[in-house]
Symmetry: C2
Subunit: 217 residues, 2 copies
């Protein structure tokens, strides 16, 4: 039986892009939303290529999957995962959340009380294994399977097995290469750099993403 | 007459790499150090290719140049620039300082009281125009003019003219492409990401650097 992946708050651009590439890699994906109907409609509008599937449902349904990705807006992430604490226990929970605020034509990083959104989520889910991934990705290119995406995805987390599981998930997805960096202590730096990528995009009218040169795998 | 560039704390690996590529682009560079003799010896050991020169001297000598780069260790940066406040007035001062601390096999970002080292330096130099650049570069490849370096350098700062001057300086250097991102508010995110690059290097025994895909200049 294939691994199932749930995406909390999965109907936004970030969640959709990850969903379509996961399903195209053979995973069965549940897009979760507070609005179950919107989740079903969004899932129905995505056409993965491969053996996987995308369905829509509640966040509870998404949280019942084998692996769960948090893709909610940053200011609802803790409330969402806290309400699903028991279902998420003993699972790998991947945060792709960035706390950002707009100021003029720039996106700027916010630093949550525990330093990062991944740390906020880890504190809310003491029985889950938190990792981080998918932070710097261009949503439009993620969703377009014909785009020539070759992005590096920095993966962090305190639990080595959970990091390995996350790396495997990322590397299964077309156009992405996982780069394991280390512990959750690096989450603030990874999350905040998303503000740099998006601010560059706004200024240069581009769809930038990060490639790490000089890494042979 | 060509532009002169001074590098405060320029005898370390980061300063040397920037010096050799600036001199190879035709700039006359002064490596500054608290130890004048070490600065002269370090400068004498660097062989730029081109019309520029590299000399060694005191940090005072480096501060008398047209443009000044801060490459000291993070914990001496504010003391160094504060003592040169008058000489640095009305100049573009480029911070390449990252506040990092080692924990096990990782480098982790420190967040200075004003959010970033560039902001600390800006506060210490109210009459100078502070920008940031050169944060994510691999020192060994910077110093080796035969390396196949093609790195993107994120440039930030509150003063548009100073940013433009910094972009021009970076783009004159072989192997580097400047990417203007915006204001000093983004400094913390740029500086902290250096910890991610170095931690990846330690874990993967690599010399990683950042390329931003999808940007046409």
């Amino acid at each position: 039986m294939s691994t199932t992946v749930g995406i909390l708050g999965g109907t936004g651009p970030a969640g959709r892009g990850v969903a379509i590439r996961l399903a195209s890699a053979g995973y069965d994906v549940t897009l979760g939303s507070r609005d179950e109907q919107r989740a079903s409609e969004t899932a129905g509008g995505l056409s993965p290529r491969g053996n996987g599937s995308i369905g829509g449902g509640t966040n509870e349904a998404a949280a019942s999957c084998d692996v769960v990705i948090v893709a909610t807006p940053w200011d609802s992430a803790v409330a969402t995962v806290s309400s699903l604490k028991d279902q998420l226990a003993n699972k790998v929970v991947i945060s792709m959340v960035n706390a950002l605020t707009k100021e003029g034509r720039e996106l700027l990083p916010l630093y949550p009380p525990r330093g990062s959104m991944a740390a906020q989520i880890a504190h809310a889910l003491p029985r889950s294994n938190i990792t981080g991934a998918f932070h710097h990705l261009p949503a439009a290119q993620m969703e377009d399977l014909d785009s020539d995406l070759r992005a590096d995805v920095v993966v962090f987390g305190d639990n080595a097995e959970a990091r390995t599981a996350t790396v495997q998930l990322v590397n299964a997805m077309a156009g992405l290469r996982a780069v394991e960096v280390g512990s959750l202590s690096l989450a603030s730096a990874v999350e905040a750099f998303t503000a740099v990528c998006i601010s560059i995009n706004i200024r240069h009218k581009a769809h930038t993403y990060v490639q790490l040169a000089g890494l042979d795998h």
